[in-house]
C-alpha cells in the first residue's frame, strides 16, 4: 500500500502519431552528447518518435570528442545511410566530414549546434537554437529579475556549448550585473553540491545561480540551503523533477529550447525530403527556442515532463 513507485507513475505513454507506410530508410543521428545526459535523452526521444512514425531505421550515436564525432559521421557515410542528422559543436573539426557526406549524395540536416555554419557545411536545414542566443535571452531575463551577481555552473570543463551558454548569459546581463563561472564535477553529486555551497559561502554577494542542466538545478537547491544563501536559482533545460521544483518555486524558471522538437524535426524533415523532396525553412534557420518555463506555464508542461518528453 505504498505511494509513489512505478504503479503511481503509470499512464504516461509516449507520443505515437500513426505509422507511415513509406519505404524503410536508414537515418543516422550523430550528436556530441555526453552519455547519460538528460537533455540529449529528450532529443533522442523526439527523434525515435519521428522514426517510429516515419517507418525509419533509426541509428543514434554520440561522442563529445569532436574528432571522434567526425569518425562517427564517416562511419555513417561508409554505412551508406539514406540521411544524416548531425549536431556541429565544432565547425572546423566537423564540417569537412559533413561535406564529404553531402558529396557522397547523402542529405544532411543539422540541429542544436552549429547555427552559424550549417549553410557552409552544406546542410539542407537547421533546427534549434544557438546556445549563445539562449544564454543572452536568459541573461536579459536575469537582469530584469534584478540579478546583480550571477553564478554560472558548468558541469564539465572545456565544452563548447556550455561555455557558449555562460558567455551568452554574461552578454545578456550587459552592464546590469556580473557573471562568474564555476566548474563542478558533473559525475559526482556530492562534490557538485559541496562545490556550489562552497562558492556561495566564499562569495556572499551572489544573488543568482544558473545551472546548465536540469539535474544540477536539483542539487543546487540543497547547496543554496546548505550555505544558507539567499540566491535565487535558475536553469537551462528541463526534466520531470525540475518541473516540479518550478511548481514549488524552488527553481524560478528554466530556459527551454524544446529538445524533443529538435530531435523530432531533424528526423521528420529528412523523411519528408526522402519521400517527398520537401525542405523546411526556406534556407533559413528554424528556431525551436528559447522559451521559458516558469510558474505561469509550468502546469501545462508538467504532464509531458512526467513522461520525459519535455
Amino acid at each position: 500500500s505504498s505511494t509513489g513507485g512505478k504503479k503511481a507513475a503509470q499512464g504516461g505513454e509516449v507520443v505515437s502519431a500513426g505509422h507511415a507506410s513509406t519505404p524503410r530508410y536508414t537515418i543516422a543521428m550523430i550528436t556530441h552528447a555526453a552519455p547519460g545526459d538528460t537533455f540529449w535523452d529528450i532529443i533522442r526521444k523526439g527523434a525515435s518518435a519521428a522514426a517510429a512514425k516515419d517507418n525509419i531505421n533509426f541509428k543514434y550515436s554520440n561522442n563529445d570528442d569532436p574528432t571522434q564525432q567526425a569518425t562517427l559521421i564517416q562511419d555513417a557515410i561508409n554505412a551508406k545511410v539514406a540521411g544524416i542528422a548531425v549536431t556541429d559543436p565544432d565547425p572546423q573539426a566537423i564540417c569537412p566530414t559533413i561535406k564529404k557526406a553531402v558529396a557522397a549524395g547523402i542529405p544532411v540536416v543539422m540541429f542544436n549546434a552549429g547555427v552559424d555554419n550549417w549553410q557552409q557545411c552544406g546542410a539542407m536545414e537547421y533546427f534549434g537554437q544557438d546556445e549563445t542566443i539562449a544564454g543572452v535571452a536568459a541573461g536579459k531575463r536575469l537582469a530584469a529579475a534584478g540579478a546583480r551577481k550571477v553564478l554560472c555552473v558548468l558541469q564539465a570543463q572545456g565544452q563548447v556549448q556550455l561555455e557558449a551558454r555562460c558567455a551568452g548569459v554574461k552578454q545578456g546581463l550587459g552592464s546590469e550585473g556580473t557573471m562568474e563561472k564555476l566548474y563542478v564535477n558533473g559525475t559526482d553529486s556530492a562534490s557538485v553540491q559541496s562545490t556550489i555551497a562552497a562558492k556561495l559561502r566564499q562569495d556572499k554577494s551572489i544573488d543568482a545561480v544558473i545551472t546548465l542542466g536540469a539535474p544540477f538545478a536539483i542539487i543546487a537547491i540543497q547547496s543554496i540551503s546548505q550555505a544558507s544563501s539567499s540566491a535565487k536559482l535558475y536553469t537551462f533545460d528541463t526534466n520531470a523533477e525540475e518541473i516540479s521544483k518550478i511548481k514549488s518555486g524552488q527553481v524560478q524558471w528554466a530556459v527551454d529550447q524544446q529538445p524533443y522538437l529538435q530531435g523530432y524535426e531533424a528526423i521528420d524533415s529528412l523523411w519528408l525530403y526522402l519521400t517527398n523532396g520537401d525542405t523546411i525553412g526556406g534556407g533559413q534557420t528554424v528556431l525551436t527556442g528559447p522559451s521559458f518555463i516558469d510558474a505561469s506555464n509550468v502546469a501545462k508542461v508538467a504532464q509531458y515532463a512526467e513522461r520525459g518528453t519535455r
Binding site: 513507485g5 512505478k6 547519460g36 559526482d188 553529486s189 556530492a190 559541496s194 559561502r201 566564499q202 523533477e241
Partner: protein, 352 residues
C-alpha cells in the same frame, strides 16, 4: 698487517652497539601515513591563511563531508591495494548499487529496504566476480576491473533507460521506508550550530576497523603478505585466492554503503555518475602511502589522502581562484603534497 682488538661477540641485551641513536621524528616518519599527514597540514594551513571562508566551522564540515564520501571508499581500496590489486570499477559500482536499490523498489513498488538489500547482494556479487575472475584467470586486476568498469557503466545507463526510459533513476522519496533509510544512510546532526553529516562518523568507524584488521589481526598479516609476495604467501599456506576475493568484496560492501548514501541524499541518481571517482579513491590511497605494487600502506593514510583531496577541491573554491585554473591548481597541489611527503620521509630516514 694490522690486528685490531677482539670485539666482544656476545649480544649485549641492554644496548646494541650496532644501532645508532634514533630520533623520535624519524621513528614517526617510518609509518607509511606520516608523509601524507604533513602534506595535509600544509594544505590546510595554506587555505586557512589565504581563504577566510575556509575558516568557518560550516565550511570545514562541508570539506569533511566531501572527504568522507571519498574516504569511505578509499579505505577498502587501500586494503585492496595493499593486497596487491586494483579496482577501477569501484567508482561506477557505487552508482550501480544506488541504481539497483532505487530501480528495484520503483519497478516493483516495494519497500525501499527491499531495494537496499538487493543492492547489497548485487554489490557483493560484483566484488566477488571481480576477485574471482582475477584469481581464476590470473589476468591483472587493472584489466579485469577496467572491463567491469565499462560493463557496469554501460549497464547503469542501459538498464535505467529500459526500465524508466530516462537516464536518471526516478524519485523514490514517496516510497515506503524511504525516510527511515534516509535516517540511516544520509542524516546529519548539529553541534554548536554546525551541521555535521553522519557519513563523517561512518568514515571514522570504517577507517578504525580497517586499521585494526590490518595491524592487529592475522587477516591483516595475510593481506600484507598476498600483496608483498603472493608466491611466498602461498608457499607458507596463506589462502591467497580467498584473501583477494575477500578484499574485492570488501570494496563491494562499501561501494554499496556509499551508493546508499548518495541515493538517499539526493533521492535520485544520474546513471552516468561515479565515473572517474575510482581514481580519486586510488589517489587518496597512494597519497596516503600505499604502494601501487602492493604489500605496503595504511588505512589511516588513505583517509588522510581523501582529506587532502577534499580540502584541495573545496579550498580552491573558497580561495576564489580563477575557475579556468581549477584543475591546474588541483594538480599542482596534489603533486606538491606528494613531493613534500616523500621529501620529508627521506629527510627523516637519512637524519635518523
Amino acid at each position: 698487517m694490522t690486528q685490531t682488538a677482539q670485539a666482544d661477540l656476545t649480544p649485549s641485551p641492554l644496548r646494541d652497539e650496532r644501532v645508532g641513536r634514533n630520533s623520535v621524528l624519524a621513528r614517526l616518519f617510518a609509518r607509511p601515513e606520516m608523509g601524507a599527514v604533513s602534506g595535509a597540514i600544509v594544505i590546510f594551513l595554506l587555505f586557512f591563511i589565504i581563504a577566510p571562508p575556509f575558516r568557518s566551522a560550516g565550511s570545514l564540515a562541508t570539506v569533511l563531508y566531501v572527504a568522507s564520501t571519498f574516504g569511505l571508499m578509499s579505505a577498502p581500496i587501500a586494503l585492496l591495494m595493499i593486497g596487491g590489486e586494483f579496482d577501477l570499477s569501484a567508482g561506477v559500482a557505487v552508482t550501480s548499487s544506488a541504481l539497483t536499490a532505487s530501480l528495484f523498489s520503483y519497478e516493483f513498488t516495494v519497500n525501499v529496504w527491499a531495494g537496499v538489500a538487493v543492492a547489497l547482494a548485487v554489490s557483493l556479487a560484483i566484488g566477488f566476480l571481480n576477485g574471482w575472475i582475477v584469481v581464476r584467470t590470473g589476468i591483472p586486476s587493472f584489466l579485469v576491473t577496467l572491463g567491469t568498469f565499462f560493463m557496469l557503466q554501460g549497464l547503469n545507463l542501459a538498464l535505467t533507460q529500459t526500465i524508466t526510459n530516462q537516464v536518471a533513476s526516478p524519485d523514490i522519496s514517496e516510497i515506503q521506508g524511504f525516510s527511515a533509510a534516509q535516517k540511516v544512510f544520509a542524516s546529519s546532526f548539529t553541534i554548536g550550530g554546525v551541521n555535521i553529516r553522519t557519513t563523517i562518523i561512518y568514515w571514522i568507524v570504517v577507517v578504525f576497523i580497517a586499521t585494526w584488521i590490518l595491524l592487529r589481526t592475522h587477516v591483516g598479516n595475510w593481506i600484507f603478505s598476498v600483496g608483498g609476495s603472493a608466491p611466498s604467501a602461498r608457499a607458507v599456506g596463506v589462502p591467497v585466492a580467498k584473501m583477494k576475493i575477500g578484499l574485492f568484496m570488501g570494496v563491494g560492501l562499501l561501494a554499496w554503503f556509499t551508493g546508499m548514501h548518495t541515493l538517499f541524499e539526493f533521492n535520485t541518481i544520474q546513471s552516468g555518475q561515479g565515473v572517474g571517482n575510482e581514481f580519486v579513491y586510488i589517489i587518496a590511497a597512494v597519497v596516503g602511502g600505499c604502494l601501487l605494487t602492493g604489500g605496503y600502506g595504511s588505512a589511516v593514510g588513505a583517509a588522510i589522502g581523501a582529506l587532502i583531496f577534499g580540502m584541495t577541491q573545496q579550498g580552491i573554491v573558497y580561495a576564489g581562484w580563477d575557475p579556468d585554473w581549477f584543475t591546474f591548481f588541483e594538480g599542482a597541489l596534489l603533486l606538491g603534497a606528494i613531493v613534500l611527503n616523500t621529501f620529508i620521509r627521506r629527510r627523516a630516514e637519512a637524519s635518523r
